[in-house]
């Protein structure tokens, strides 16, 4: 084969392959730490109240994004909320087809401003309605590790 000859068979080409070994580790910050600790230790969903704006933020955070006041009043907002919006996903994260869809919903917790994006369970897709009341189902205490997945899913209530 001369240097000018065109390569027509791709098996003749060669590439050098390798892995790039990097990973990320993310800590949740001061408010996030406390929020996830409450989920892990007490199975409680916490919000932070801004008295001047009369809002309770969920997830709880350090500052009010409207008036920039520091938020020091933390409240347990309970496990209940309503489906604000939802979607049915027939693809997993690697774009594989799923027979049974994963139901993802934005759950607005009762009395709170904002909410959690999470899965819905113990419900069939046909029965879901926007505004439907739902309730968080937590993992057993021993299985909780301080992650949003310590909540298994939200179920109708």
């Amino acid at each position: 084969m001369s240097p000018l000859e065109k390569i027509v068979q791709t098996t003749q080409t060669k590439s050098l392959q390798g892995d790039i070994p990097v990973y990320g580790q993310y800590t949740f910050g001061v408010a996030g730490e406390r929020f996830f600790r409450e989920i892990k230790d007490n199975a409680r969903i916490m919000g932070a109240t801004c008295k001047s704006c009369n809002l309770t933020y969920v997830p709880a955070r350090l500052f009010c994004e409207r008036c920039f006041n520091k938020l020091e009043d933390w409240v347990d907002v309970g496990k209940r909320g309503v489906v604000h919006t939802y979607t049915l996903s027939y693809l997993d994260l690697d774009e594989n087809r799923l027979d049974k869809p994963v139901i993802l919903a934005m759950v607005q917790l009762d009395g709170a401003y904002g909410g959690l994006v999470h899965r819905l369970g113990e419900v069939t897709p046909e029965k879901i309605r926007i505004g439907m009341p739902v309730e968080a189902v937590f993992k057993a205490k021993a299985e909780r590790e301080g992650s949003i997945l310590d909540i298994k899913y939200f179920k109708p209530c």
């Binding site: 003749q12 060669k14 590439s15 050098l16 070994p21 800590t27 949740f28 910050g29 001061v30």
Partner: protein, 167 residues
């Protein structure tokens, strides 16, 4: 700290705080891979290494050998004229004695990276390692020969040559 600032604002964290699970965290391990297309010149160069041969290309206009093989002569910008097999013997052009490995760990037995001018190439060299030699006895101008991996273990890379030893 400075004269004015006794304590920086914020919440300091250490590695050990995460490792000892004093703070919660989430890890992300992306699956990152790369593939570098060798092209015509390097592609055949690596393929021939798998066969236990060193191949270069020749530019007739500049009267020189290009090693590793390349498709274009970077001096006259022409496509090279032909492939040329070279011997797996050469001469040490320069060398170093390294007492640290690539992760900067101290090592007792030094590695000896060297630039080896390949015989018949007109003075073109490749970077590789010397072994089976006392570091004190390595000399510039020393004749060396490639020690190849067994054929079954070769994968088409410069590491198919294990090292070079004195001839």
């Amino acid at each position: 700290m400075t004269a004015k600032i006794k304590e920086w604002p914020g919440t300091p964290l250490r590695d050990t705080d995460i490792k000892e699970k004093k703070v919660l965290s989430t890890e992300w391990h992306p699956n990152l891979k790369y593939a570098w297309d060798c092209g015509v010149g390097y592609g055949r160069y690596f393929a021939e290494l798998k066969n236990g041969k060193i191949i270069g290309t020749k530019c007739e206009k500049c009267h020189r050998v290009l090693l590793p093989a390349r498709a274009f002569c970077e001096l006259c910008f022409r496509t090279v004229d032909e492939w040329v097999y070279l011997k797996d013997t050469g001469t040490v052009n320069t060398f170093s004695i390294a007492y640290t490995d690539v992760q900067a760990n101290r090592i007792k037995e030094p590695q000896i990276p060297a630039l080896i001018e390949i015989d018949g190439s007109g003075g073109v060299g490749i970077m590789h390692l010397l072994e089976e030699v006392d570091p004190k006895k390595v000399k510039i101008g020393m004749k060396v020969k490639a020690v190849w991996k067994p054929k079954a273990q070769r994968e088409g890379a410069i590491t198919d040559i294990k090292y070079w030893k004195p001839l």
